[in-house]
């Protein structure tokens, strides 16, 4: 077992493009769940809409990535409106059910064989990233020699991605210290009290849903850039659950909570993944094959994630940075 290469690999992943997209998705969820108390289980839907807009703009409309970006984020706004109108007046669990259902609807529709001429079916869309690749200023591997390194393309995606993360964090920080943000937080604490003060709770919730959804859309954009492709399997329901785990590790209702959470989460996922794969691989595996074979090794980390999410929510719902009193939420 090579511990230093394990850690090096996990570090490379923890700051790499996938961690960034989880981070952006979690920042969006932070606006929904952490600040407003909205339970959005369909962040994957927002990501998918924006991701496919980027890809589709180039391959379907032979237009530019910029147009795709703008259209994608606008579509996220539309999606948020569509989801919010029927549910935001209802109890919190209705939003949860409708968002998880909508994300799956979008995924099944876009991935359907009937639209495979347009959206590529289960294979998704590829070959749209040339324009972004051409802007890459790096031409060799970057990183800290001997510890971690990334390919030139990954490093360029990371630069763009972390810049987006920084921008989103700044926006969230500015918004949440404004009077508007204080209204959101008070909606989370007691919706009726806010309503009695004459605020339009429905409208505030809708604005929060839109802003968080657009940030989720940016996560979809990073997904498209990372893989140079978009496909239905990238936007499965589990990605939303992973983003929730990131958010809860770092601490909800904290600007930097999702950032730290995503880095730690993705570090641990890769560490466990590589650890169990090493422990079960080779001629004389550390863990005997009757307990775990190499197929099962890749599942172990997700079992741990599920268990971790439960334990985290039960024993430390405030995560690393959060304030426990702020998350004494109830079904409102």
């Amino acid at each position: 077992m090579d511990i230093s290469s394990l850690i090096g690999f996990s570090l490379q992943q923890a700051f790499g493009p996938t961690a960034i997209l989880l981070c952006l998705a979690a920042i969006g969820l932070n606006v929904h769940f952490g600040y407003t108390g909205l339970l959005n289980f369909g962040q994957a839907g927002f990501m998918m809409v924006a991701g496919y807009s980027i890809g589709g703009a180039v391959t379907i409309f032979s237009s530019s990535l910029w147009i795709g970006l703008v259209v994608g984020l606008l579509l996220c706004v539309v999606l948020a409106l569509l989801l919010g109108v029927p549910t935001l007046r209802l109890r919190a669990d209705y939003l949860a059910i409708v968002t998880i259902a909508a994300a799956e609807m979008i995924r099944q529709t876009i991935g359907a064989a009937a639209f495979s001429d347009t959206f590529g079916g289960q294979d998704g869309i590829t070959d749209f990233i040339a324009g972004f690749r051409a802007t890459n200023p790096f031409d060799d591997r970057k990183g800290i020699p001997g510890v971690v390194s990334w390919s030139a393309y990954d490093f360029w995606v990371m630069c763009v991605g972390w810049a987006l993360v920084a921008l989103c964090c700044l926006v969230v920080w500015l918004l949440m210290r404004s009077p508007w943000g204080r209204v959101l937080k008070s909606i989370r604490e007691d919706e009726d009290a806010v309503r009695s003060l004459g605020k339009n709770v429905y409208s505030y919730k809708m604005q929060a849903l839109i802003i968080g959804g657009v940030i989720g859309g940016l996560a979809g954009v990073v997904t498209a850039l990372r893989s140079a492709a978009v496909g239905p399997s990238f936007f499965a329901t589990d990605i939303t659950f992973f983003a929730y785990t990131c958010l809860l590790i770092g601490g909800a209702a904290r600007v930097l909570g999702p950032v730290v959470g995503a880095i730690i989460f993705w570090f641990l996922i890769n560490f466990f993944g590589a650890f169990f794969s090493q422990a079960t691989g080779g001629p004389d595996p550390l863990i005997p094959t009757w307990i775990m074979d190499s197929n099962q090794a890749s599942l172990t980390r997700f079992i741990i994630v599920g268990l971790g999410l439960m334990l985290l929510m039960i024993f430390r719902p405030q995560g690393i940075f959060g304030d426990r009193r702020e998350l004494a939420l109830d079904a409102r």
């Binding site: 108390g37 339970l39 289980f41 109108v85 029927p86 549910t87 007046r89 209802l90 109890r91 919190a92 669990d93 209705y94 949860a96 059910i97 409708v98 998880i100 259902a101 909508a102 799956e104 609807m105 099944q108 529709t109 359907a112 064989a113 009937a114 079916g121 289960q122 589990d238 659950f241 929730y244 785990t245 809860l248 197929n295 099962q296 599942l299 172990t300 997700f302 079992i303 994630v305 599920g306 268990l307 971790g308 999410l309 439960m310 334990l311 985290l312 929510m313 039960i314 719902p317 998350l327 004494a328 939420l329 109830d330 079904a331």
Partner: protein, 460 residues
Amino acid sequence: MHTPRSRRAVAVGALLVGLLAVLVPMGSASADASSTGRKLGCSYEKHAEDEIHIKGCLRDERENPPAPVPGVSVTVTDSAGEVIGEDETDETGVFDIAVPGDPVSALGKEFTVQIDEETLPEGAALRDPDQVELTIMFSTTSDQSVIFPIGDPLAGSSGKGLQAVQLFVGGLVFSSLLAMAALGLSMIFGTTGLTNFAHGELITFGALTAFAVDRLPGDISLGGANVTVIVAVVAAFAVSAAFGWLNDAALWRPLRRRGTGIIAMMIVSIGLSLFLRNLYQYLAGAQSQNYSQYAAVQPWEVGPLLITPKEVVVFVLAMSVLVAATSVLRFTRIGKATRAVADNPALSSATGINVERVINFVWIGGAALAGLAGALLGLTQGFDYQIGFKLLLLVFAAVVLGGLGTIWGAIVGAFVIGIFTELTTVFVPAEFKFVGALLVMIVVLLIRPQGMLGRSQRVG
């Protein structure tokens, strides 16, 4: 003098005996069918281990025994439309086409098998004239066989009307299973307020428990008949009940005692779902499975419709369980207490109802229903580790449509959603049937948020 408890035990016993009486002859019937299949000599040639083939054998089912149909050309194309192999059925009616490349590279790829109707002998036709091609996907690295039933074309089978009736029958069977799962979810929501996102995993638990019992070495027989799968289904019901108790006792009751909020509990249920689903895959693998019996049974022809005895038994069983469950809720003491708690936990607690006991009862009953639904669903269409997770959204749609927390609403909603999903395939491709159901749910929330049978109180 019978106490209510012993009367219930008698009723359950009677139900089980009835179930055995219906299923046992069916098992022997299907054994006959498979032995005729062997007598026909539908034998395929062996080929090298590192190859993967698509094969099938054409039989004219008007003859008895069915006669092989030679000289029919069969073409296989891949998803890009490239022809990868052609064959003509030999004198035993068998065709066998090798898929290029190694078996692993074929995983997850789709292939279309098409038969040339022109080459069918005079007077023979496909039973379903629309089905000249079949699309298959390799989910394992073993050979795939395809079936093209040949015989008299089903009268008017091209008509949308008959197709709709056939789908309606299939929808009824599916709905009865959906209703069992939905009833459990709705009761748990009604008494605890928890929207359990891990309910799908309770469904899978039933399917997997039945599978585990089925895979125990040796057959279980009763009076000479092989009843392995029947015992497996009954075991799934019982073990799922215990699993429901465990869920409540080990996780949810302590959380309620701590005063954990509903939203926090929903996220815990998401974690539980993720945990269990991956654990299932860890233990059972990712491939789709079938039980050892009843996987392929000869359908009955009822007029122009094709109905398998399996479907009839599953439907009758599911309906009896639903009637039993709703009767328990309606007439027994614990059932009345359950409805009281669902109505107002604080008030029912004040009138001396033991709310914790009621909630525990609901978890046991809800999980048992979900587990039975999973086992029966596995019986009708096969299962894999995420059968419940895929079904979960339809269960939600059913419960929301009928009214969250209502008993009759869950059942009515399940039938509307189950039949709707099947019937929409008359007009739109089958891959959109879930989308349609979820769309219905969202529209219902827009115009009648409390659901069809919910009371029009404020739910916001």
